[in-house]
Symmetry: C2
């Protein structure tokens, strides 16, 4: 740069004005992540009013060789939005509208800065649902979810973010606007450009708008909490549910004993089943067909009955009302109780279901060999092959050892160091356990081709 | 090249042997496409026995700067596998095995040269289905379907090829083997490399193996042929079926009168309903839940009854047996009767359902203004927004005019010049109607980055 940092910051402010450019203290009081609620270090925080202004800002940054880091709802868990004092933070918080909802076409057009919950509410008003859902729905924005290809509670039925998008608008690293705002289910015209940008954490450009797929809304949901004696019984129950409910099976969320016991400690959540079973699953079916709710409820109960008669399920409770269903979901959603443990290391991995039992056993014994009082908490979207792990042991200096123990065995069993959270900064050292050198070289080639100056969220993922 | 074409061909033969390398007449007797059953022009046709041999062949071609054109089942319709005499054709016909089927993980590993029908049969033997299906199943190979992101009969329910793949193995343009043979549903570790290669018609590398997603097999299918007075009634019925059957609605195949009348001419297929209705839809629901077939059949019939009472459907027949269901599907599958017309121009477009009626009316009147006796045949996967058009008019010199009439209006309404067939050579001049210059530039950057010598299926798509 030929001008000083301060001079560039002033240039930005003069060029785009104070509603679009924050400097100094206004930047520092911004959150860094869900855990770190302030302390953002960045040369400036840019808040464009629309795509055109963002494009102008990107061109300014290219001219001054300023690295750009997109921010979203700051609920990410991999450090994907961490900025350094020489980088510019880009926030789409002013681009937060649901632009349109088309009920016949089953699509919604949304700006990237829109929180997930606002999308849910807007489409619900049209009798539709956007099935992407997760605990952070109040603050997570769709732009952040697109950039990390977020998963969540209904992946089993509807897929991840990647599967729920038809079109995108992206500001490219040179400030050009790529309009790929298609609403077509089928479009075989070369490279699927939206797939190129989804899940690449802002390293190839900034997603500004999207065309989302909608589905008919329904309140015909049936949920139960089941307890199991063994991992095998829990997997057999998953297969039974798949056979009996088909695509209506929307969630199969498993909680190992340590997790269930933690969230149901006295003063926390009420335990609907004894706290002594080895495994629990929150099972939900969602039926979109009209006018079949009573029959569906009966079928759901009948399947559970069958499972109990077969000895697969040893105890169970079916939600009899929306509030009971809500109470069951809180057991799974209120993961924040994990943060009462310290130190705590959290992980998001995926692996074939057939490998889970061995992987967990071996990891547990490795941990206990090093730290006899290690706390090992496991829960997750087992139907998707996705486990969340929370481990409390040792001191802060042991983080790297724990990470190695968790990630390294995944390479041999075809697992992934990141099922739904992404790579960002924090998982970058472990990407090698899920991606081989040839794959990494292909990713680097694409990055270099599309962002030759390496200004888009540099140093993240790769 | 420093050596002559003939010398290179001899070098290839010496290096890889006669079971892997065909030259001269052996090449020329090969099909060019489904329509052109022989006449392949290529310097040589390479038939590697395995991925390693293919990788060695690619390295040989790079060394001698030989362009490579992957071939598959030769059922493509866009000239994606056309070779020139200076190019080498690569066929994966010897790599045609279903390597493994994992019932618990619901996956199959297949080599790219395996015909679709062989995959169907192999997984059916394990009580599973691979739901990708289309008329050319006997000869289309999975490699070709991956390279074009094929669609077919059950996209409404299961998605296109892109949605049914978990992992890939690809030989890159420099001969390196990229092993991305994951079987994970969730894998957020940077760029989704499989999505980069699916649908790019061999321009970025050669897919050699894939991990496919399977689903439980079922014979609980209910099909009906319905007739409609109007386009609006047909769309209302689609929405009614969506509401009543939810994700069980697997096909909604519409045939306009000219198509239905053509395939049910005397001596062709039997017409289950009068040949005089404006529109017909072949509607199928597929229920994977176990032990509900009788109830599902009743629900299906009840929904049709409701539609008739509401005046949406004016005539209908429900298949009462597998053979009756097969007869209904033949009406849709035996599209070959279209080739009795000459000249015949065929198209595969997609566009929002809300735009279809206006688009078709305007196209019909444009055609009839120029050629008063033009035959205009429309059918397709309306549930997916995908229409197939077959137009017979004028002489061979009119092809370009007809193509312009079909493709040009799609730009303004956000349509696609290719819903499921791809771009290849034949649709390349019209790609500009579906992709803007910024998008094309991004595609070109990726192509150049990954295939800097432009040796992988050069001149296709871009």
């Amino acid at each position: 740069m030929s001008v000083s940092r301060d001079a560039v910051a002033r240039l930005l402010l003069n060029r785009f004005g104070s509603s679009s450019v924050l400097l100094g203290e206004d930047v520092r009081e911004r959150p860094v992540s869900k855990q770190i609620v302030s302390g953002c270090e960045a040369l400036a925080l840019l808040r464009p009013a629309d795509t055109q202004e963002l494009a102008n800002m990107v061109r300014f940054c290219v001219e001054h060789e300023l690295p750009m880091v997109p921010r979203a709802g700051m609920t990410g868990l991999v450090g994907g939005t961490v900025t350094s004092p020489d980088e510019v933070a880009l926030s789409l918080e002013r681009m937060n509208r649901v632009v349109s909802v088309d009920r016949d076409a089953q699509t919604a057009v949304v700006q990237a800065g829109t929180p997930l919950q606002a999308i849910h509410e807007a489409v619900q008003a049209h009798g539709m649902q956007f099935p992407l859902d997760l605990g952070a729905r109040g603050s997570a924005t769709i732009g952040g979810m697109l950039s990390t290809n977020a998963g969540g509670n209904k992946v089993l039925r509807y897929g991840m973010t990647r599967d729920l998008v038809l079109g995108l608008e992206v500001v490219l690293p040179d400030g050009q606007v790529m309009n790929s705002m298609y609403s077509l289910l089928k479009n075989n015209t070369g490279l699927d450009l939206k797939q190129l940008y989804i899940g690449t954490e802002g390293t190839l450009g900034i997603i500004t708008q999207a065309v989302l797929r909608l589905f008919p809304s329904t309140d015909d949901r049936h949920a139960a909490l089941c307890a199991f004696e063994s991992f095998d019984a829990m997997v057999q129950m998953l297969n039974l549910m798949r056979a009996h409910a088909g695509p209506a099976l929307s969630s199969y969320e498993v909680m190992w004993n340590a997790y269930y016991a933690l969230v149901t400690q006295p003063g926390r959540l009420r335990a609907p089943l004894s706290r002594d079973y080895p495994l629990y699953a929150l099972i939900e079916c969602e039926y979109p067909e009209r006018g079949q709710s009573a029959q569906n409820g009966e079928r759901f109960a009948q399947t559970l009955q069958t499972a109990m008669e077969q000895g697969l399920v040893i105890d169970a409770v079916i939600a009899q009302s929306e509030s009971e269903r809500g109470a069951l979901w809180r057991l799974r959603d209120e993961v924040h109780y994990i943060r009462t443990l310290s130190p705590i290391y959290s992980f998001d991995v995926s692996l074939p279901i057939g490998q889970m039992q061995t992987y967990l056993r071996s990891l547990r014994s490795e941990l206990q060999a090093r730290w006899p009082d290690a706390v090992f908490i496991v829960y997750g979207h087992v139907g998707d092959g996705n486990l969340h792990l929370a481990i409390s042991c040792g001191g802060k200096e042991d983080a790297h050892t724990v990470e190695q123990l968790v990630y390294e065995p995944l390479a041999a069993i075809g697992g992934s160091v990141s099922a739904e959270h992404g790579i960002g900064l924090y998982k970058k050292p472990y990407l090698q356990f899920s991606r081989n050198p040839v794959e990494l070289a292909v990713m680097r080639s694409v990055k270099t081709a599309l962002d030759p100056k390496n200004l888009m969220n540099p140093g993240k993922i790769l």
